[in-house]
Every structure is written in structure tokens, then in C-alpha cells.
């Protein structure tokens, strides 16, 4: 199992994904390189979450290929794909309500695919001090913000090379949002690559190295934050803001 450490983490080519008869992704190609932060924007229903699910094998594409570290993983089960060093923070947060906060974190713990153990319980709790006060709470006895921190913390426990955040700040109070963004910044600085889906364009532009806008299942824009900030008509056209 040779890993091409310097090649892209994910290389997706011409993905076509369907839900039943509805054609959602119309040929999306995408490369995610180690250490880079990529934002994924687009209105609701344009295929952002479907794209993430296709990359992870949760909703396998009907056509196209997904390579992870150069290995063809198209159609592989999601657990095989994420074991290559990818952590997914889903839109619905995905806390296990019947486990405590500690158990939610510990169950995910594993060294990264290259054996790295940068993130353990202590470091996650240092990053999210609120969780440290809630260790014996059950997963469903947390506020929305705490649940979100728990999901991000759980993702970090897997020592990923790439963190995928789907609407991580949706529905959270402004102060909590700020806290999450500051953690995302720390994660970026620690060298973990990230794909972020969010509605907060300002925060995304500050963080992302590269931005992708999706409309009707296709990539309609790809460019740096400076470029996108300098051309507000692009995001006004596709995002309405």
C-alpha cells in the first residue's frame, strides 16, 4: 500500500452522481492537495453535500473516478476511504446520543494513516475546554455548539490529513461560530488540509486558499480568495450575496 505522500490527497475526475433518477452531479473534477484549505460554495440544492458524499463513498458516483493518494477508490466502502486519513463532519453533526462525550471522542481515536498521533484526548480537550466540563454528559444532552465542537473534536481524534466540514457553523450563535472558526484556523495552521462548506462567505474568504462555487451540479468558478473578493459579481451571481 504505497502512499504518494506528496501527491494530492483526493483526485476526483468527472463525477456523475444520481439520487434514483435525478442527476445531481454533472461531471465534477476536483483535486485536494495536502495542507490546503478549500471552500465549497453554492446555493442550497446545488450538490455540495452530494459531492462530499460522493468523494467519501457514502453516495457512490455512477460515473467518474475518485483517487485517494493515487489509489483508485471509486466504489470502495466509506470506511476504507476514510481510513486513508480523511475525517468527515457531517451536516447533521452525527453525535452518538447513547454515548457520553468522553465515549464519543474515545471511540474514534486512532493514529493517522502514517502513524501520527498528534491529536489525543488531552489536546482535543485543550482545544475545546467546554467539552472538558461535559465529559459525562450523554451526546444528546449538549447544546448545538457543544455538539458541533464534539463532532469536530471526534474528527480530530482520527488524526486526519484532510478534514471535511459540512455546514459546521449552521444555526449556531455568533459567539460559538467565532469559536469554531478560530479552531478551524488552528487546524489549518497545524497543516491539516480542509474542505469547508459554509454560508459565511466572509469567514471562508479569510481562511480558504482556493474557492469553488458549484451550481446545478457543475463547478462554475474556481479561484483564490483575493480573486473572488475582487470580483463580487461572481458570488453575487451564483450565491446571491
Amino acid at each position: 500500500m504505497a502512499r504518494q505522500a506528496d501527491g494530492p490527497i483526493i483526485e476526483a475526475h468527472d463525477l456523475h452522481t444520481y439520487y434514483g433518477a435525478s442527476h445531481i452531479l454533472h461531471g465534477i473534477s476536483l483535486v485536494i492537495r495536502p495542507g490546503e484549505t478549500l471552500s465549497l460554495m453554492g446555493r442550497n440544492g446545488m450538490g455540495k453535500t452530494t459531492l462530499l458524499r460522493s468523494l467519501l463513498g457514502l453516495t457512490p458516483p455512477r460515473r467518474g473516478t475518485v483517487k485517494v493518494y493515487g489509489r483508485d477508490m471509486t466504489g470502495a466502502p466509506p470506511e476504507k476511504i476514510v481510513r486513508q486519513g480523511i475525517a468527515f463532519v457531517p451536516e447533521d453533526r452525527g453525535i452518538f446520543p447513547n454515548l457520553t462525550v468522553r465515549e464519543n471522542l474515545v471511540m474514534a481515536a486512532r493514529p493517522g494513516p502514517d502513524g501520527r498521533k498528534d491529536w489525543d484526548l488531552t489536546r482535543v480537550l485543550d482545544t475545546f475546554p467546554r467539552l472538558a466540563q461535559r465529559m459525562t454528559n450523554m451526546g444528546n444532552h449538549l447544546s448545538g455548539g457543544e455538539q458541533q465542537m464534539l463532532t469536530v473534536g471526534r474528527a480530530l481524534m482520527t488524526n486526519p490529513d484532510l478534514l471535511i466540514l459540512d455546514e459546521a457553523t449552521e444555526g449556531l450563535a455568533p459567539l460559538i461560530r467565532k469559536e469554531i472558526w478560530s479552531v478551524v484556523r488552528q487546524i489549518k495552521e497545524s497543516g491539516i488540509a480542509a474542505v469547508i462548506v459554509d454560508k459565511d462567505i466572509k469567514a471562508l474568504l479569510e481562511l480558504a486558499d482556493r474557492n469553488i462555487i458549484i451550481s446545478k451540479g457543475q463547478i462554475v468558478y474556481e479561484g483564490s480568495s483575493e480573486d473572488l473578493a475582487a470580483n463580487p459579481e461572481t458570488h453575487i451571481r451564483y450565491l446571491g450575496v
Binding site: 467519501l56 457514502l58 466502502p77 466509506p78 470506511e79 476504507k80 476514510v82 481510513r83 475525517a87 468527515f88 457531517p90 452525527g94 452518538f96 446520543p97 447513547n98 454515548l99 465515549e103 474515545v106 471511540m107 474514534a108 486512532r110 459525562t136 454528559n137 450523554m138 444528546n140 444532552h141 471526534r154 482520527t158
Partner: protein, 335 residues
């Protein structure tokens, strides 16, 4: 609540069970032995229903196989060495669980229920129609397993009290074993699978492997219960593995409290005692039993064992003592 006060009811219950043979007549010692055996059986099923989220409707197959392995191998033997008979029963039940589990865990929900039911009925009809193994008459065993140290049988299971303590130790060991694996990382993963299997896969766990291990462990423990039942009654027949038995086991787990290890013990006491004493009241006792099961499901959806913390919190709120955070969490989430 500290862990001491939480485990206090368990310690009291264990002490009561330990002292019971000193007071109970041999009929009642035999009855409680049967309850203990059924409790082990139901507890093994709760590992699947309450912790892994797999509702198996064929669990009696492994109970029956545990008993049949003992009866078939030793029906004509002049002595039944425990150290041969018990591993044989566990192995047979575990292997059957491996095969049935390997096929069944690929399905979920209603399909899992139907496929476990169908596969266990295959075992039922095999033994029902096999003249070699006694058909529907079953097999009699005239001896009890022995554990020889030198020329002395240190168990002497012919004595009803000794058998009682043998079954009780098996129950305690099963309980401790399950507590141990549920606290291990394995236990956290299966609990997470119960909550949401897709998420667990998205975290990088191959969930089928975990479900299969859980299924095999549960089947093996059911085999232990079947071994004890066969050895206790000296008689094993196909009814042990019929779907009625699987259904009763599910009723016990639900009645006692799904997802708690002590729930199935309480459930086994309730069901077996009702099965024994209701028939004295009326010949339509099954109707009463069904009514009781339905009322518990309606009024105590977390099982009979949830009555205790409920009463406790009721008394406290009347006294005006607010619940501590931890206790209110416990009441809400233990089911």
C-alpha cells in the same frame, strides 16, 4: 449518584440470591435456577437488541444448540466431564452464530428479523424431524456434568443447591464479562452502531465485522444458557429453539429494560414467575400475561427497571430536592 450507591441495589440483589437456598424449599431453588438460566439467555440477547441494535428473532436457536450439543455428545456416556461438555456446547452455539450471523448481518431492520427467524426455524425443523436425535420427543440425559479433582466431583450438581450456585456463578460471570466488553472500545463502537451505523462507517469502522463479533458473542452466551438448561432439566427437545422461545426472550428483554444488563434479569424473574403462577388463576393465563407485557410497554417504555429511578425522582421532587444533572441524565437516557 456515586458508583457505590448505584451498584448498591445490585449488591443487595446478589446477596439475596446467594442466601436464597438457605430459606427456599428445593422447588423454589429449582425455579430460581431456571430463572437465572433464562436471565443469562435474555442478557445475551440484550447485547444484540439493546447495545448493537440488532433485533434477532432467532436467538433461541443458539440456546437449543447449546443444549443439544450436550445431549447428543453425552446421551450414552457413563460420565459427562464438564471441561469437555461445556466448551463443546459453547463452540457449537458459537459456530452456528457465526454462520447465521454471517448471512444475517448483511440485512437490517425487518429483513434482519425475518432472516434470523427463518434460519433458526431451519434448525428447529431439523431437530424436530430427525429420528436420530429423538425428533419431537427430544433427548433425555440421566447424568449431570462433573468436574473431577482427583476422584472427587467438586461440583456435585445432583444436589439442587449446588446446581443453583453453579448457575448463579455463570450469571455473575456473564454479567461481568458483558460489563467488561461494553466498557472496552469494542462496546463503544457497537453502541454507536446502534445509534447510527452510517456514521460509524464514516468514521472508518467496518461495521459488519463488529456486528458479527457481537452476534457470535451473544450466540455463544445463549449456548451457555442452553447448556445449563439441558444439564439442569436433563431433557432437551426442539421446543427449546422454536420461535416461541425467541419471542419470549425478546419479551423478557423489553419487559426488563432494553439496553441495561440488569433489565433482562428482572424481566426473566417477572416472566418465568408469571408463567408459573398465572396458570393457577385461570386457564386463559396467556391472555393475562400478554396484557401485562402490553401494559409495561405502554406505561414503562424503558422497561420495569425504569420504575425505580422514576419513583425515586418523584419522591425527591415532592420533597423539593432538585435532581442533580447526572441523575436526570440517567433517567432520560438509560433506556
Amino acid at each position: 449518584m456515586s458508583s457505590l450507591t448505584r451498584s448498591l441495589p445490585l449488591v443487595v440483589a446478589l446477596l439475596t440470591l446467594l442466601l436464597f437456598p438457605l430459606f427456599g424449599s428445593s422447588f423454589y431453588v429449582g425455579l430460581v435456577t431456571r430463572i437465572i438460566i433464562i436471565a443469562i439467555f435474555a442478557m445475551s440477547l440484550d447485547l444484540l437488541i439493546g447495545y448493537t441494535g440488532l433485533v434477532s428473532f432467532g436467538h433461541a436457536a443458539f440456546f437449543g444448540i447449546g443444549g443439544y450439543a450436550l445431549a447428543i455428545a453425552f446421551q450414552d456416556a457413563s460420565v459427562i466431564p464438564l471441561w469437555q461438555a461445556l466448551p463443546l456446547s459453547l463452540l457449537a452455539a458459537g459456530l452456528a452464530a457465526l454462520v447465521i450471523g454471517w448471512i444475517s448481518i448483511r440485512t437490517s431492520g425487518i429483513y434482519f428479523i425475518m432472516i434470523t427467524l427463518a434460519l433458526s426455524q431451519m434448525f428447529f425443523y431439523y431437530f424436530f424431524e430427525s429420528p436420530r436425535y429423538g425428533g419431537d420427543d427430544g433427548i433425555f440425559l440421566f447424568l449431570k456434568p462433573v468436574l473431577m479433582i482427583g476422584s472427587e466431583d467438586i461440583l456435585n450438581l445432583d444436589n439442587e443447591n449446588n446446581f443453583y450456585y453453579f448457575a448463579l456463578s455463570s450469571l455473575v460471570l456473564t454479567y461481568l464479562f458483558l460489563v467488561m466488553i461494553l466498557q472496552a472500545p469494542f462496546g463503544k463502537v457497537i453502541k454507536a452502531i446502534k445509534a447510527n451505523e452510517h456514521r460509524v462507517r464514516a468514521l472508518g469502522y467496518s461495521t459488519n465485522g463488529y456486528k458479527l463479533v457481537s452476534f457470535v458473542l451473544a450466540g455463544t452466551l445463549a449456548g451457555l444458557a442452553g447448556f445449563l438448561e439441558g444439564a439442569h432439566t436433563g431433557y432437551i427437545n426442539p421446543a427449546y429453539m422454536s420461535w416461541h422461545e425467541s419471542g419470549v426472550a425478546i419479551a423478557i428483554v423489553i419487559l426488563g429494560g432494553v439496553g441495561t444488563l440488569y433489565g433482562p434479569i428482572v424481566g426473566a424473574f417477572i416472566i418465568v414467575l408469571l408463567q408459573n403462577f398465572l396458570p393457577e388463576l385461570t386457564e386463559h393465563w396467556q391472555l393475562l400475561l400478554g396484557g401485562i407485557v402490553i401494559s409495561v410497554v405502554l406505561f414503562l417504555p424503558r422497561g420495569a427497571t425504569s420504575l425505580f429511578p422514576r419513583l425515586l425522582s418523584l419522591i425527591r421532587t415532592e420533597k423539593g430536592v432538585p435532581l442533580s444533572q447526572e441523575e436526570s441524565t440517567k433517567v432520560d437516557t438509560d433506556g
